[in-house]
Subunit: 191 residues, 2 copies
């Protein structure tokens, strides 16, 4: 069991937090107007990308040594045709640069909130959480904290793979926005 | 029914061709040492990226007006840690630049050969072929030619989305290479 701090009380924060709670962890939620409490061992930034940057910049020292989970899909929501991060980088890499002593993990950005809450993609297949990070212990801590939640976890490699995970999340969102798929569907992972 | 020319007789060429044949099309296969025959209305480049570039450069005029399907995942196979195309581009965009009068469609790169042959991901869920292209008629021609094959087709948007499809294919391949998934599994798409 871990102490987990989730920034963001929206659909993603609630769906992620519900899974951590189901697995027996102690979860504290922080809204945008809340005082920031003492931080848990795992911190989840379940907020839009710009807010994730701002929170990270404001808490560089407090994030040192912590597992910091970036769930963002940094779309340009005006165009829905590009990401706002440089093509050769990722939101996760930028956050890791801003908090170099944090153990940044990219996760939850490849799964819609509805599929995290339901623990199923398309009401048919278990939801898999991909995790990319340079710190193997950070990925293990996240996987351990989700063990028993009903979600499947999978190691997607180093933090460099966050770039592909963000492309994956972007593509999935454009398919939903164009009504090719629904927001309870998307990409299920088969072993 | 369409006349289809497939460059490449490997696993991908055979799996793709088998689906076109199952849907009632006339398929001609071209190996690397074969004379190139009269080309069909749909041309599939089921070869590694470098060969796709070479074939396109050699047939710029013949490709004019044709639907040219790029199935490549342009990995750096020495490192398995990056693509060989620029971060802000894609293999498909580069091929389209080389044959500007061709109607380039990115497709089949998000599905392993085994899942095209079986028409199922993980022996459990129908295989979906994502298609990205700037020419809507080209996507329709490809979807029509696959109608009856047992594969599902889905419109992934403009050719710009090839970048995300190549990231998707790259991520899927790294998961298989690291034995997180098998080569008959991968990403299934749920509506």
């Amino acid at each position: 069991m871990a102490a987990i701090t989730i920034f963001g009380k929206g659909n993603m924060g609630q769906a992620i937090g519900g899974n951590f709670e189901a697995a027996g962890n102690q979860v504290t939620y922080v809204g945008s107007h809340d005082q920031v409490p003492a931080l848990g061992a795992i911190i989840v930034l379940a907020v839009p990308y710009a807010a994730a940057v701002s929170i990270t910049e404001s808490h560089t020292d407090e994030f040192a040594g912590k597992v910091v989970v970036d769930v963002t899909n940094p779309l340009n929501f005006d165009t829905w045709d590009e990401l706002v991060v440089p093509a050769d980088s990722s939101a996760a890499a930028i956050l890791a640069d801003k908090a170099p002593q944090a153990k940044v993990v990219k996760a939850f950005n490849t799964t819609f909130a509805g599929t995290l809450a339901a623990k199923q993609i398309g009401n048919d297949h278990p939801t898999t959480v991909l995790m990319a990070a340079d710190d193997a212990d950070a990925k293990k801590a996240l996987a351990d904290a989700l063990d028993g939640s009903g979600l499947v976890t999978m190691d997607a490699g180093s933090l460099k793979r966050a770039r592909e995970m963000e492309a994956f999340g972007f593509l999935q969102m454009t398919l939903a926005a164009s009504e090719q798929i629904g927001w309870t569907g998307g990409f299920g992972i088969f072993k």
